[in-house]
């Protein structure tokens, strides 16, 4: 089942990519149908899910026994919500209208390829396999930004590629550090979770931890490794940004849990405070810098840094101290995972909205707009919901995440939490300011012909925001799945 989730989009990518020129119009329907299949499969996986410390529904195959490499996939309570997020976000992003510059086949092939690779990252239970999928997402996203981006797309794409590949190479050193410490040598993640290869927080464990931390901090991204993010987002096409923010950034925070927390628990405890401080700096920095933005997409990009900082704060708190307050740390970890899902849904929606705005106005500058509420009520309504989601209004998913992380982390790092809460107030102000600049006030003459969202756009945004509302109102179904693993993880530390 899990293998099919990876394989079906991959085969779809091949089929779409190799369509003859005369059949190019088939690319879109084929791609959309193929990309929905994993969503159905994910629901089945969800229904069969039981939960526990170790991944389940494992499928494995000997691959390169000489090196100790296996093909091995499985899910736990941390990865399953992210798999579901991937399964939802990809089809709707692909459905979102975009000027494809006459390269439909390549566009849909790359998106399906990216979808397969993203599933692979979250499902992989072998470090070798994990690394393969991790790098493939970079290659795919590089092409998306470079080909269908705008502005200085080539430069932004290259910056993205070099930055994140440097991170992944640092991770490769970390992987080798773990690999060389196993006996017999293997890349098996389940075995590494059961018996961490580098117990104690010695020099070697610290260096390995550092390698992984650099990779994940770049990917997430947190300050000071975030500088690739704003240009990449601003110049990427809307659906590309949605996938980048919604899925690819999550790989950084997912890695912190899957590898740093689970495989290097002692080193993690040693450096948890440092990680928490970095995350709070990111929270504050992201919020303050967003405040200075007039570019809509740049603003959303910086709020991403705040939200991802919040997720990392939850993770750092979960692995922070020995014993005591198990419940609080468990809540923090639950909140971190909910935060990933919520940020994925809401930020993807916001980026798609910016894409729609750009398609109509060819600018992201908010001061140029105003009064769009009368011209585009559907756009306004959906943006308002998404923005309220972003600022953490109760009743929406982000609130569940914020409150869980804060409550949980408060037991571990009270001062840091107080600082972060203050930053969230800034976030609220700037989202409200964004709404005012875009939708209220007088309508400028040049926007008299501004068209509202069409049916596909509206349907896509609703399908992203509806789950955010559902999670906000009844979060139990999601938190139970997360907690089944998070509880065991924190309990073991």
């Amino acid at each position: 089942m899990l293998t099919a989730i990876i394989l079906i989009p991959l085969l779809g990518a091949l089929v779409v990519g190799l369509l003859p020129t005369t059949r190019a119009p088939l690319a879109r329907p084929i791609a959309l149908v193929v990309s929905f299949v994993p969503l159905v499969l994910t629901v089945l996986v969800w229904l069969r899910f039981e939960g526990g410390l170790l991944p389940e529904q494992i499928e494995s195959l000997r691959w390169i026994p000489a090196l100790g490499v296996e093909y091995k996939v499985g899910v736990d309570g941390i990865s399953l919500p992210l798999v579901a997020l991937t399964a939802l976000l990809f089809p709707v992003s692909m459905a979102y209208p975009l000027d494809l510059l006459g390269r439909e086949r390549m566009y849909y092939a790359i998106f399906l390829f990216l979808e397969a690779a993203s599933f692979g990252v979250f499902l992989a239970l072998d470090l070798f396999l994990f690394f393969i999928f991790w790098d493939l997402t970079l290659v795919g996203m590089y092409f998306v930004i470079a080909i269908w981006g705008h502005g200085d797309a080539l430069r932004s794409a290259l910056k993205f590629f070099i930055y994140t590949l440097t991170g992944s190479l640092a991770m490769l050193l970390g992987i080798l550090g773990l690999y060389l410490a196993t006996s017999p040598r293997s890349f098996d993640m389940v075995a590494l979770i059961q018996n961490p290869a580098l117990p104690g927080g010695g020099l070697r464990a610290s260096l390995v931890f550092l390698g992984f931390a650099v990779a994940f901090l770049i990917k997430a991204p947190l300050v000071p490794f975030h500088t690739w993010l704003p240009p990449a987002h601003v110049d990427a096409p809307g659906p590309g940004s949605a996938v980048l923010a919604g899925i690819l950034l999550k790989m950084g925070t997912y890695g912190f849990i899957r590898i740093s927390l689970l495989m290097l628990p002692d080193a993690f405890r040693k450096y948890a405070l440092a990680l928490a401080i970095v995350s709070v700096v990111s929270i504050v920095y992201g919020a303050l810098v967003s405040l200075a933005q007039t570019n809509l997409k740049r603003l959303i990009a910086y709020t991403s840094i705040t939200h991802m900082g919040l997720v990392v704060l939850g993770i750092a708190a979960a692995g922070g101290v020995l014993g005591g307050d198990v419940e609080a740390r468990r809540v923090a970890l639950d909140g971190a995972v909910v935060g990933m899902v919520s940020h994925g849904l809401i930020t993807a929606a916001l980026f798609l909205i910016s894409g729609s705005v750009y398609a109509r106005a060819h600018t992201y500058e908010m001061p140029e707009f105003g009064g769009l509420l009368s011209r585009a009520p559907r756009l306004a309504l959906l943006t308002i919901v998404a923005a309220f989601g972003g600022l953490g209004l109760p009743g929406l998913a982000q609130f569940v995440a914020d409150i869980s992380v804060f409550v949980g982390a408060f037991a571990v790092y009270p001062v840091l939490v107080i600082v972060s809460v203050a930053a969230l107030v800034v976030l609220a102000a700037l989202f409200l300011r964004m709404l005012r600049m875009m939708f209220l006030g007088p309508l400028a003459d040049r926007w008299r012909e501004f068209t509202d969202l069409d049916r596909v756009e509206s349907a896509v945004l609703v399908s992203l925001l509806a789950p955010a509302v559902v999670i906000g109102v009844i979060p139990a179904w999601l938190i139970n799945v997360i907690d089944a693993t998070a509880g065991a993880v924190v309990g073991r530390l």
Partner: protein, 470 residues
């Protein structure tokens, strides 16, 4: 000792020697058959090599020549490179008056590389280096009328004559110190040798091998040959001699007692310098062929990492062989695309290749991604094993240098990929060479993907490969 143990070499030698009188007397229109004939000879030699894979590993002819699996794999990789070169050459030399003799030289050059890969005696080291060099100069200058080809050959020759001369002095000195030229027995004799003389000998020999490898400080010929030599020759000369020389170097370092000669740090520094110099020089190239030449220098630097790990990590030999295989295929694929585009060098002329020639563009992309080490391509498994080997040997800093270099290298590979994929095609389709060259480019591209995914049989064999005299 039996002649059967050197059957692949004998086939190659006999094939080349028999071809020479044939092409001297055959009419010109039949000389194209020399390509078919060479493919047959190479395949025959390859079949004889494959048959040796199961045999007991050891040495032959009184310990002077090795028949271990490292030698056999070296042969196979070089033979594959040569076959691909023949495919690239067939239409390239179509109108050349002396296309027959070309294949004689090519076969002899391949033989030189193979002797290097199997050498366990200093005399054979000299033989292999000189055989690849002498044929290499002529092959580089094969377009007599082309000034660029001549210039590249002169540069190649001057540097080669100098470094080969150094090397011969080094060999003589080593012989004087050890009283033997056989590597297997040399180690014991060298343990009491004068350390200063030994260091001089090592340095002199290192110069000769660095030249073959395209490693610092004798790397300067590589971009010139890549740019000036006929494109198929450039493909061959940036791959085949390097494979032989790396395996030869790996064998040679075994005899130097580490207590007297710190060759490990020396090779590590050379590796770091080579990859850095190659990458920095490639950064600003507008000429795709020069860029490939510099990238080939940097790849030599990565390959030297395996030498650093020899004897300290069980990953050293597998990583060396796998990396060489991946490098050779990537190199043939990239130069294959260049050849199929009739030696196109100007970066801007590659604009829109992904739309006009999607398959060639894809092969080029695969080759570059494999050079960078993007999984699941063959280059990734090679680099992974290399990094593992040096980390295990206590040279983590070298792995870090390699990683910084890898990140740096993306910049120039992207400078070629960007026009190929992101620019609109210019009017006027780029001219191509023909079906032989196309096959010669696409096959290694396909193998890069295949060997990245189906790596087990290769690694399985590489792990059991001995590398005499280790």
């Amino acid at each position: 000792m039996s002649l059967v143990s050197i059957l692949p070499e004998l086939i190659l030698l006999g094939g080349a020697v028999a071809l020479l009188p044939l092409v001297l007397f055959f009419p010109w229109r039949l000389q194209n058959l020399a390509a078919h004939y060479s493919l047959f000879v190479l395949a025959l030699s390859g079949a004889a090599s494959v048959a040796m894979l199961g045999d007991p590993q050891g040495s032959t002819f009184f310990g002077t020549y090795s028949v271990d699996d490292s030698a056999v794999w070296g042969k196979l990789i070089i033979l594959a490179v040569t076959m691909l070169t023949v495919a690239l050459s067939y239409q390239w030399f179509d109108r050349d008056k002396r296309r027959g003799e070309y294949y004689v030289l090519l076969l002899m050059a391949a033989l030189g590389g193979i002797i290097l890969a199997g050498m366990t005696d200093l005399m054979e080291l000299v033989l292999g280096v000189l055989l690849t060099s002498a044929t290499g100069y002529v092959l580089t200058a094969y377009h007599r009328a082309s000034a660029r080809s001549g210039e590249a050959a002169i540069k190649y020759y001057l540097l080669g004559a100098l470094t080969n001369g150094f090397m011969v002095y080094g060999v003589v000195l080593l012989f004087a110190l050890a009283g033997t030229t056989v590597l297997g027995t040399m180690r014991a004799d060298l343990s009491t040798a004068d350390p200063f003389a030994l260091i001089v000998a090592v340095a002199l020999i290192a110069m000769g091998l660095a030249f073959k490898l395209g490693a610092v400080p004798a790397h300067a010929w590589m971009p010139d040959v890549a740019d000036g030599a006929p494109a198929p020759v450039a493909a061959f000369l940036t791959a085949a001699p390097k494979i032989g020389a790396l395996i030869a170097l790996s064998r040679l370092v075994a005899v130097f007692p580490e207590s007297q000669v710190g060759w490990r740090p020396l090779v590590a520094v050379l590796a770091a310098a080579t990859m850095t110099v190659g990458n920095l020089a490639a950064l600003r190239q507008e000429d795709v062929r020069r860029l490939l030449g510099w990238s080939s220098v940097s790849q030599s630097g990565y390959a030297l990492m395996a030498v650093v790990a020899l004897g300290r990590s069980d990953l050293a030999v597998p990583s060396l062989l796998f990396f060489l295989l991946a490098y050779a295929l990537g190199n043939m694929a990239a130069f294959g695309v260049v050849t199929e585009l009739r030696g196109l060098a100007d970066r801007s002329r590659y604009a829109g290749l992904s739309r006009t020639r999607p398959w060639l563009a894809f092969v080029l992309l695969i080759a570059f991604l494999s050079f960078i080490g993007i999984p699941p391509l063959a280059g990734f498994a090679g680099k992974l094993a290399l990094f593992g080997a040096v980390i295990q040997s206590g040279y983590t800093w070298l792995a870090v240098v390699a990683i910084i270099n890898t990140a740096l290298s993306i910049a120039y590979y992207a400078r070629v990929i960007a026009p190929v994929y992101f620019s609109a095609p210019e009017p006027g389709l780029a001219a191509t060479l023909g079906i032989w060259a196309r096959v010669g480019a696409v096959v290694p591209g396909f193998l890069l993907i295949l060997f990245g995914i189906v790596a087990e049989p290769l690694f399985h064999s590489f792990f059991s490969a001995q590398l005499l005299p280790w």
